[in-house]
Symmetry: C2
Subunit: 276 residues, 2 copies
Amino acid sequence: MRVGFQGELGAFSQQAILQLLGAKARPVPHVRFDQVFAALNKGSVDAAAIPIENTLHGSIYDNYDLLLKYDFAITAETNVRVVHNLIAPPGMSFAQVRTVYSHPVAINQCLDFFARHKRIERESFYDTAGSVKMIMEQRPAGGAAIASELAAKIYKARILKRGIEDDRQNYTRFFLLESAESKPRRAAGKTPWKTSLVFSTRNVPGALFRALSALALRDLNLVKIESRPLRGKPWEYLFYLDLLGRHDDEAVKNALAHLGEVADFLRVLGSYRAAG
Amino acid sequence: MRVGFQGELGAFSQQAILQLLGAKARPVPHVRFDQVFAALNKGSVDAAAIPIENTLHGSIYDNYDLLLKYDFAITAETNVRVVHNLIAPPGMSFAQVRTVYSHPVAINQCLDFFARHKRIERESFYDTAGSVKMIMEQRPAGGAAIASELAAKIYKARILKRGIEDDRQNYTRFFLLESAESKPRRAAGKTPWKTSLVFSTRNVPGALFRALSALALRDLNLVKIESRPLRGKPWEYLFYLDLLGRHDDEAVKNALAHLGEVADFLRVLGSYRAAG
């Protein structure tokens, strides 16, 4: 099974693929998210793993837009803890590290580490896993990287310090996407079902309240809601919403029919087992 | 008036300060967002301009967390269009550009430009405005940068190509923060009032629906809502909400009192004029 993702081999998205599908799935790297979606659309990959939100940085609207542009089903979700490791070529000691290369976002998530080790310089790089690849291929003097454990393994580098990130509560949520008619993947445990949907309303006072009544009247549980202004349509909004339940549960079916009446637009993105 | 922001001089946050307060305000750069908040807290700056959401990347949870940690008032908001320009030292022509330095996020927002000009290499840098400062100070051969018009002006560099970003619908929303007892700033035009608040509910079915009834029953208009899981408290949520109105309008006062009854926690972050 070929699974598209954005980034270099060793990216956190590849960790997501491991968690979602195990080691047999073949990760297929792409430079841009739109290329991952296009690859799934033309069938050059069988599925795609894409990040949708992060506990520090919020929802990734770019990818929500791509979900709306294409018509795939979300068949599973997983949460990847973002652990940053200091990684160097084998044989280099921590005392020899002079310059650390990584994506500026990763560097900025390890500021306590750099404050404790002022001798170490920071150099921006376009990608975390790519920085490991680079230090292994080019071996810049005293050069180390910050990236995932998986990146160290793939490029046969060594972890000098594990978990140097400032904040341990840094998780990224990924969706597994497959063709529209695909069935949800079985999760190992018996976690509850979730359904993700997108709808829009005109911004008359109480429009969202009326929309949510479709769920509240059926005792359905919301687990995410987010509004987003519609481009070029002042005061109109898209809402991203996750609820507990399957789209073909009786109560959910009725709620979706009701929501369809009060919303200008409604699309169900998929039902899947909640991440454990 | 000293106004703290994150980034180098010439950052988009400095553009926000210009839009919010005019050219008389003195921008005071900081490396990290928490340092901006700490500076405002101890009075080494009089106000702070912080980005809170972006039309492509969503809400910046880090800064919402800092809003909750401290007790400041939002006194104004503004939207800055993220325009990326190709910037070089004076005298360098476009044909001479060999390498473009910038933050990887900015580089990734100009991929069409790089696809059209394959001879040009990309180099990651920690900051957009910082990359202009660097090419002016160090003058790497054929080195240009991607940053704001303001950055070009500040470092006396020249814009070779304007607006090379892929997506013109890239806006960042900024808040102006001042001490808790500050009054809202007057906006030039007569835009509507907005009030931002944060509240939490236990996740019993319909909890959000009940909370929103406090607004809907008073015909108040929601302009943003976003849920966020509470750390370490499964199935409990924070909600960020913006509504149209001032916190001391009769209907808003009543709605807030009502919301206070049904929410576990409620805080009003400020009332301010909507960005024009």
